[in-house]
Assembly symmetry: C2
DNA sequence: CCAAAAGTGTTTTCAGTACACCCATGC
DNA sequence: GCATGGGTGTACTGAAAACACTTTTGG
């Protein structure tokens, strides 16, 4: 006999940084604050169905999701006791654009530049972040976040962000080449400062699970 | 506005095998079946409080726990819609004995010798198992499950169970010795078949996180 | 003395690490 | 031509893997 809210922690990778999608709250209380996109659990729906529906309203579908945890503190939201289920998912920025109507009130934020968020959403984000990093390092989900045309320095920046320490450029390249997961697109990333970087894509069925 | 049950998946390691604690159900429906120890979430308690209390009734306290996931299928239990939260924990068999009153109706089962369990408890156990293995391989919780006086072959059996493949005995020993985590107790495991194995304990503050 | 399980060393191989200079572009 | 960032090769080191015989106990 408890209310339960489902909050979505949606991550993306952009230029080697992890970003999370937040919604700008237009109603009281906490009007003007940012928050995680959240829905209430209905009695006639499973969690998976609700999450799928909610992602659909954001213009996404078929994403992998992962439960992060249930938050049950008695005062986590004002008034009635409400459980908070945190669900994590991820999508790539390049092949995805937020629907026009949705975009206005949503925004991607870098993890170390988060605005103040309501309730225990900060805690949810932190816990989801751990889980996200772990998924990226130990599965092949990174492939879905790096569709065609990325540069090696960009990939290296990403791994440095995930691992929390920096890597030697030459050794990083050597490793990726050795693992035989890269395909040269033949194009270069022109128009930037300095020498243009080659653009790559991942080969089909690449296995990154043991890279780091 | 949903009921929620909290089910405990309590693991232990015994002679290189993972075991899970099940309760023999004495009431209808499903009288005679086995199940995970389960309590209902109250409106005035957090999940952590309830789990702690429940563990206390089993005679354990201060254990680490980890949420495994919420199961929300509409028909996972008969009659009313009830969410199922699976919570995993672990304890060592040697330093722990089930309370007399509790022991009668509970039993430890090896994972590949599980009896039939009710509802979706099988699924919970499987998901918890993954999580348990991951915790043991990537944290130092194994230390709490191997208090003083274990043999190296026993430890090796455990790692083989966790990893799902077998290890070379000489290389295993070499690695453990190299990591400098073992302390010889001076005793031997006598009375068994064959040459008695030396008994070890882990040194304080050993780090096993990068062993495998 | 036989069966059963524990203990022990060496060699090879491969991946990780450290490290400094040249190259392609924009301005 | 200079600033900026990208690309490249080599030598060293240390861990992982492969592998067979001896030792200690109980019966």
């Amino acid at each position: 006999m408890n209310e339960m809210d489902i909050s979505l922690i949606l991550f993306t990778l952009d230029q080697g940084k992890i970003k999370v999608l937040l919604l700008h709250r237009e109603e009281e209380p906490f009007r003007g604050y940012w928050m995680l996109p959240t829905v209430s659990l209905k009695e006639n729906k499973t969690i998976e169905e609700l999450v799928e529906e909610h992602l659909h309203t954001l213009g996404m579908k078929g994403l992998c999701t992962k439960q992060v945890g249930v938050f049950s503190d008695l005062k986590r939201v004002p008034k009635t006791r409400t459980l908070g289920l945190a669900i994590m998912s991820w999508i790539d920025t390049k092949s995805f654009e937020l629907k026009e109507t949705i975009r206005e009130e949503h925004n991607w934020f870098e993890l170390d530049l988060l605005p103040k968020v309501i309730y225990d959403h900060q805690e949810m984000i932190e816990k989801a972040q751990e889980s996200f990093i772990s998924v990226l390092l130990h599965t092949n989900e990174l492939l879905t976040l790096f569709p065609s045309d990325f540069t090696l320095p960009e990939l290296q920046d990403t791994y440095e962000e995930l691992l929390g320490y920096s890597l030697d450029r030459r050794n990083f390249r050597k490793k990726l080449i050795q693992y035989d997961v890269l395909e040269d697109t033949g194009y270069k990333n022109e128009g930037m400062n300095g020498r243009p970087a080659k653009l790559y894509r991942f080969k089909e069925d690449s296995d990154l699970t043991n890279l780091f």
